[in-house]
Symmetry: C2
Subunit: 419 residues, 2 copies
């Protein structure tokens, strides 16, 4: 059975008119032959509206109830889109997360999909229906409604594409695909036609609004090629796939890989924390990161300084939202291990250059640092990987930082620049 | 285990502040000893808002999707109220219809509860939690979300009170209880302290906003005494119970029952239909009412005229909303049985006098017709039962009709008048 998964985000579903246009797009795909499985987010700003109601009740919101509340947003979209499809003559049925057989773990608000029982969806497809599935949600083994966290609808789409062995997984939004930088910041930014999972993961991780990182991870692990496209235009978008698939598309010839700068990504809301003067014993870093993990805080950059007088400093960054949880964890650990001080501050941003082969080409880092220095931007922390160089800078300098690095690597030129 | 079921309607939950006050009321009841199970409707005008979104898509809305859509309204209320309870220190958990084990039949939009599996709710009660259950909804044997129709949350409350053997079932709204007439129409209307199921059913059937008729039916069949109370005042409300229970409360003495006028009810939106000149053969009425039942149209008053020249007329009334479905049914039957004509018109209202012993006291009807005649109000159809006399009148005369009948039976006097 030929299956295409199409996922539509909140901005594609913000009004009844938009829902009608999405229905027409789905029906058009189906008329070309394949069965279509649709995954939807909540309409427009529904999630923010629901969140506002809950927060008006108090600050310590029970996570289980927040999940139960937020999950209704996607259910509204499924019912309306399934109805819109039926009204234009395309058989369709709505499915909540649990109706679609999506089981998650028990971590409210950030649940992970652990299994998908496709029996009901396959039954719907065999009956000739377009299943319209609520993204972002599932059900825990205890029968509680869970949500996958913001952007989790992308993950739902990739998971369904994987388990249904779909021939395509198209993620629609209001942008044309993945760009060399955020076009709102860099007017010369260009669409990238094809990009590897690992490169895309770095971009998503750094705040690009096109795709959630977890969805890209999930796609990479399951070999699902994603196409990021615009809902309301016919552009071909950006394919996110494996390096092997990219090589095949170039015609299979051998390429001596050099460092290729693909994109400049940024993240506006980063908090920096540090544990200063901790005894240089094994196991201290482990305690810090275990305490953070227990609070479901993701750590991004990590720097451990050289030991000095038998003591050292551990600094790291987290998302701005996680500052308080991280501060709490840090203070608990500090008291236990006897650190001299803890630091915690919001107000940072991160700019990153992404592309294959960064680590083996030292010139890349030098070009990036020079571009920032020319703009008078101070670099607070640096981290590098095989495919990324990131610099922590003050929040107010982010736009200038992105523009200067984008220019320095020639990403505004028709052919992707290389260093 | 002592259990009290408390149901709160949409007007009691229309804002975050209202939800907080409801939480305090629930917590106060629980602090007196009993376990509390809460049933909620959708917040304020949520249901109308959702309905508006669906209707904007088109006129032929798939009933399954409408149910999936509307059910989200109550889910929002459960999550917010469960959170509000937890925030004030009262352990609570939200439950959708399916999580609460409520199974219905497959009639989308007007589903009936066929079973309640209380395992999960009992588990929650044993854990010391207040279960907050979404009213108005359940799940069909196929795993589809169904709704019980407008006001179905009352039915959910009664069903839970029955299966959990609750000691009380309190239905809260923004009115103080059941009145001798709608206080918006009759300023002298008084609260009725106690009323029998059958009397209440007639009042509910005729458009009183306090309780849905199905909930009263369900209460009568299962011996659940309902108390209709106001959310935001401490009045004792109206008890709706069996005639036996009422006798017990009077002290068990024997009372020679006379006709006791209890209330004047009205319904503003009635449509009248007729099949004229049908052959006087057995089975014709059956066909008409089968065709209506197939379209889920409830018929109210029915009049079959005397046979004339081997033909007769069948006239009946339905809710204004059902006019088109009823007209369709009538035309199909008319073509089959060879009737001379069909009539279908909206624009009627119904005024009814309710109380035990009406049929055995012919003077009651005479007093009612005289009251209407004095106001110059024409009576279009009449129907009577053991506990009710109803007159169909033109829509514009409803208010005057209610006031004149209320006065004629002395219902504005401290002691309930009798005829």
């Amino acid at each position: 059975m030929r299956i295409v998964v199409q996922k539509f985000g909140g901005s594609s579903l913000s009004t009844v008119d938009h829902i009608r246009r999405v229905a027409e797009r789905v029906a058009a795909t189906r008329s070309l032959g394949p069965n279509v499985v649709v995954v939807v987010s909540a309409m427009g700003d529904t999630t923010d509206h629901l969140l506002g109601l809950m927060r008006a009740l108090g600050t310590r919101v029970p996570p289980r109830e927040l999940d139960a509340l937020l999950a209704t947003g996607e259910q509204v979209s499924t019912a309306l889109l399934a109805a819109a499809l039926q009204i234009i003559g395309c058989p369709a049925r709505s499915f909540t997360g649990w109706q679609a057989g999506i089981t998650t773990d028990r971590v409210a608000g950030k649940a992970r999909i652990v299994a998908v029982d496709t029996a009901r969806l396959r039954g719907a497809l065999e009956a000739g229906w377009v299943p319209v599935v609520a993204g972002f949600q599932g059900i825990s083994p205890d029968g509680d409604v869970t949500t996958l966290g913001r952007g989790g609808s992308d993950t739902t789409a990739v998971a369904l594409a994987a388990v249904l062995q779909a021939e395509a997984c198209e993620i629609f939004s209001d942008v044309e695909g993945v760009y060399t930088a955020d076009p709102r910041v860099v007017s010369e930014a260009r669409r990238i036609p094809i990009i590897a999972y690992d490169e895309m993961m770095e971009i998503a991780h750094l705040g690009a609004q096109v795709l959630q990182i977890r969805a890209v991870e999930c796609a990479a692990m399951n070999g699902v090629t994603i196409t990021a496209r615009s809902t309301f235009t016919d552009g071909s978008g950006t394919r996110i796939t494996s390096a092997e698939e990219m090589a095949k598309m170039r015609g299979g010839g051998f390429v001596e890989s050099g460092a290729v700068a693909r994109a400049v990504a940024h993240d506006r809301d980063v908090a920096k924390l540090a544990l200063c003067g901790v005894p240089d014993r094994p196991g201290i870093a482990m305690r810090v990161f275990q305490a953070l993990a227990e609070r479901n805080v993701n750590v991004d950059m990590i720097i451990q300084s050289q030991s000095r007088d038998g003591k050292n400093d551990i600094a790291f960054t987290v998302a701005g939202d996680d500052l308080e949880a991280a501060r709490e964890a840090l203070e608990v650990v500090s008291a236990v291990v006897g650190a001299d001080a803890t630091l915690a501050a919001a107000g940072f941003g991160k700019v990153s250059l992404i592309g294959a082969g960064m680590a083996s080409h030292p010139g890349v880092a030098g070009t990036m640092f020079a571009a920032l220095a020319e703009e008078g931007i101070n670099i607070d922390m640096i981290s590098t990987s095989e495919i990324k160089i990131s610099c922590l800078v003050e929040q107010g300098a982010i736009d200038r930082a992105v523009r200067s690095v984008h220019r320095a690597f020639g990403l505004d030129r028709p052919e992707t620049g290389s260093a």
